[in-house]
């Protein structure tokens, strides 16, 4: 019998999704700090983008073509490039969303056993994916187009086309995303049990992205410091850009519509792409969904591993450290947010150092590398150690299981701190070596930065672990994985940023004052940062162990 679309069911399914999504905003569960922080970051990114993209646009549209300025041509090129980037990001987001809604959604298994037609389920999922993409599209399109409208004279049609562009772009990216979602899912399932390959791949991609980011930041620096960017766009480069832009479909058509060139061809092109995309989306997502429903009913993949005997006797402490390591390393999201970030951290400090060192020297006229390195090390170290804010919560119900085992409370907590410190020490050491070997720091400054960075890392780990223990919330998921940050995580991000800004900022300001007054107290930096690190470490340790034994015995939190 042919399955009919049940609109009432679709409404019910959408309502369910809405209730689940808004659950996090209910009074008890609302992560106020995280919400404000996210809003602040988005607002800050948008402001930075509007300022720098506007400035870049001014430079780019004034680049001469055959001795004359051609604003519509340059604007078309710029919009084609920007919209290609927007489409790429939206496609990545669409792939992730399709995978999340179809392959990894908890409800699929339940729905598979209920009298819910695949078609109705499919439409409800598609609507959710589309709405998600629509928000992304609206933010991106409006930010870009408002900036363009501020910095150049645009026709009224530019504003008219902005609205349909917001609605059309998600359809295209969902279609491209749906084509790529299946191979992506197959790849991620393949990598699911190849933990080392997964780790290398994810770390390399993240490192590459950060390198790209540093190049953009470098461009921004050039833009701030002088005219070298203007000379960058010479004739050869401009013709290469024009050549590349001529292949940037469908972004080029959108740019044409905005700039008022080739309306008919571009309009028809967009309509044709839209039609193909709609068919592709419907066919492929429906196919994927049916496959996912079947696979959820049939069961999940099994991992066949080599036969091994029981290991030799280790101490309970190291058994707990190994358990902690495996839990993080074998959970892709944990592995990325801790181990990969810790590996990339030295590169992040180095990239930022390479940009900000000359920037500060040019702007202030003084060389403050140790202070700058300290600030960056503390900042990125704090962001890396934010992961420790789930040191207890990520154990889930296993926290109780470990509690019933013959481990003292100190063994349980110190094993967690030990692993985090191992990661911190390696990360801080690599940072110090990198900065010293690239000539930003002399060896004793590098050693000092390593010690202070490690001590502040200890502070973050201790505070995060104890704070999480006091406010532990276990996941209700079968695998106990924490997928969303909460108040604890957000509070610790703010705390980490505050410490890095206060300590890093204090030594920076004091160094500037010393240099300006030709004072001979250059070692004050070391004294202040070192003293703060030692005192904070002692206080953090005391905070960690304060009445810990009693609290551990009395623990019945995490909503058991």
């Amino acid at each position: 019998m042919k399955e009919k679309i049940n609109f009432h069911l679709i409404k019910t399914l959408l309502k369910k999704q809405f209730i689940e999504r808004t659950y996090g905003y209910k009074r008890k569960n609302f992560d106020v700090v995280g919400f404000i922080l996210r809003l602040a970051i988005i607002a800050m990114l948008m402001t930075v983008f509007i300022i720098f993209f506007g400035r870049f646009m001014d430079i780019y549209i004034s680049v001469k073509d055959g001795g004359a300025v051609n604003v519509p041509l340059r604007l078309g090129e710029l919009l084609s490039i920007v919209y290609t980037i927007v489409i790429i990001f939206m496609t990545i987001s669409a792939i992730s969303r399709i995978n999340h809604e179809i392959f990894n959604a908890d409800d699929i298994k339940t729905f598979a056993a209920m009298p819910i037609g695949a078609k109705s389920l499919f439409i409800s999922k598609l609507i959710v994916i589309y709405l998600n993409q629509l928000v992304f599209s609206a933010v991106a399109v409006l930010t870009v187009n408002i900036t363009v409208a501020i910095h150049s004279a645009v026709s009224p049609l530019f504003f008219v086309f902005t609205v349909p562009a917001c609605f059309v772009l998600p359809l295209i990216t969902i279609a491209i995303g749906s084509v790529l979602a299946l191979p992506f899912n197959l790849l991620s399932r393949f990598l699911q049990s190849k933990f080392v390959i997964n780790f290398i791949l994810v770390t390399a991609i993240a490192g590459g992205l950060f390198y790209l980011y540093s190049i953009i930041l470098g461009g921004v620096k050039e833009m701030l410091l002088g005219d070298s960017l203007r000379y960058f766009f010479n004739e050869a480069r401009m013709s290469a850009i024009a050549g590349a832009v001529s292949y940037m479909y469908p972004a080029k058509w959108f740019a044409n519509m905005f700039t008022g060139t080739e309306y008919l061809v571009s309009g028809l092109g967009i309509v044709a792409v839209l039609a193909v995309c709609l068919v592709l989306s419907v066919v492929i997502i429906n196919y994927i969904l049916r496959g996912a429903l079947q696979s959820r009913v049939a069961g999940t993949q099994r991992f066949i591993r080599r036969s091994k005997p029981l290991s030799n006797c280790k101490s309970g402490f190291f058994a707990l450290v190994k358990k902690e390591f495996l839990l993080i390393f074998r959970t892709p999201s944990y592995m990325f947010s801790y181990f990969s970030v810790a590996v990339i951290m030295p590169l992040m400090v180095y990239f930022c150092m390479s940009i900000s060192s000359s920037l500060v020297t040019t702007l202030v006229g003084l060389e403050c590398n140790p202070e700058l390195a300290l600030f960056l090390t503390l900042l990125f170290g704090a962001l890396t150690n934010v992961f420790c804010a789930t040191n207890i919560s990520r154990d889930g119900q296993m926290f109780y299981t470990v509690k019933a085992m013959p481990f003292g409370y100190k063994t349980v907590f110190f094993s967690k701190v030990f692993l985090c410190m191992l990661v911190t020490v390696v990360s801080q050491l690599a940072t110090a070596v990198l900065l010293a070997s690239t000539g930003y720091l002399v060896w004793y400054s590098a050693l000092f930065i390593f010690i202070v960075g490690t001590l502040f890392g200890f502070v973050h780990v201790c505070v995060a672990t104890r704070y999480d223990f006091n406010h532990a919330r276990f996941s209700t998921e079968d695998d106990g994985e924490i997928k969303e940050s909460d108040n604890v995580v957000s509070a610790l991000i703010v705390l980490g940023l505050l410490v890095s800004v206060l300590v890093g900022g204090a030594v920076f300001v004091i160094r500037l004052i010393m240099l300006l007054f030709n004072s001979d107290f250059g070692y004050a930096t070391y004294l202040i940062a070192g003293g703060a690190a030692v005192v904070s470490s002692v206080l953090a340790y005391l905070y960690l162990i304060g009445k810990l034994g009693k609290k551990y015995y009395e623990f019945e939190g995490g909503e058991l």
Binding site: S193, T300, Q301, R302, F303, I304, R305, R306, S307, K308, P309, L310, S311, N312, C313, K314, S315, G316, F318, A319, K322, K323, L326, L327, R330, T331, G396, Q397, M398, Y400, T401, K403, A404, M405, P406, F407, G408, D479, G480, Y553, E554, F555, E556, L560
Partner: protein
């Protein structure tokens, strides 16, 4: 007419044996944020060579009692001794001689079966030379096969139950505690586990487990501690009960449940009578 003798009166536990493994004395447990006791004045002891069942309806307090014995949950009053060690004052030593299987099969799913067993062996300090032999013995009972090398996240419900049981037995504890142990096991493993339980206590060990499966309890247990609404109702000699051909375990259990329902009804009636008088 003479009131018929109740099962609970006929088989009330009269004597004790000296080798005490567990002593629960006047246990009280109230969850934080709750005004009522989840467990109230529960007292019983378990001895070497005994299998003791904790029996009760859903929410009776069986799991809470077991979690207090295991040291998972703090308790408001009373004392618990495991092999002479106070679970509050000397928790590490008390837990060292105990193995447990929880009702939610909480296990490290990111480990392979063999890694989990190695972890448990390390946690309970099992000497290296004993490990292979123990694993072989447990494999004979639980038959996990090659799956022991797979990630636990790929295990079925029953397989997780098996690996939990294997992990809890790797150090051959004096006391083996299980919360709903037979749930999810296939009939072959269920029978193998039951036989193993008898062998295990014959070696001088002790087992406490909770269950709803009355026939399993009747077949396996030496004694049953009956809990209702957090309160201990009786401590019964099951072996003597099942030897009586007229004994019906299901009827025995329901007899108690009916009594509780009647009491609740009477209490409510009494309350409304008082209320009516007050109103008048």
């Amino acid at each position: 007419m003479r009131k018929p003798e109740k099962y609970s009166e006929r088989y009330e536990m009269q004597s004790t044996t000296p080798q005490e493994v567990v002593r629960v004395n006047g246990l009280y447990k109230k969850y934080s944020g709750s005004s009522v006791y989840a467990v109230e004045n529960v007292t019983f002891s378990c001895y070497e060579g005994e299998i003791v069942g904790l029996l009760g309806h859903n929410g009776a307090g069986k799991s809470t009692t077991l979690k207090c014995i295991e040291g998972m949950l703090p308790f408001s009053g009373g004392e618990i001794y495991i092999n002479g060690h106070d679970i509050k004052k000397d928790p590490v030593k008390a837990k060292q001689s105990m193995g447990f299987v929880t009702d939610n099969h909480a296990v490290f799913i990111k480990m392979t079966g063999i890694q989990y067993l190695s972890f448990m062996a390390d946690a309970y300090k099992v000497p290296t030379k004993r490990r292979a032999e123990r694993l072989k013995k447990l494999e004979e009972v639980f038959c996990l096969g090659d799956a022991v090398n797979n990630l636990i996240s790929s295990y079925s419900h029953g397989m997780r139950q098996k690996i939990c049981m294997m992990g809890s037995l790797i150090h051959m504890p004096k006391l083996w505690i299980m919360d709903e142990p037979m749930t999810g096991l296939d009939p072959r493993t269920m029978r193998a586990v039951q036989n193993f339980m008898h062998e295990y206590v014959a070696m001088g060990n002790c087992i406490i487990f909770s269950s709803h499966a009355l026939h399993t309890v009747a077949r396996i247990c030496d004694r049953v501690v009956l809990i209702r609404k957090g309160k201990q109702i009786s401590d019964l000699n099951v072996k003597a009960m099942v030897e009586d051909p007229s004994f019906d375990f299901e009827e025995f259990f329901l007899e108690g449940e009916r009594e509780a329902a009647e009491e609740a009804l009477n209490d409510r009636a009494g309350l409304s009578a008082v209320q009516t008088e007050d109103d008048q």
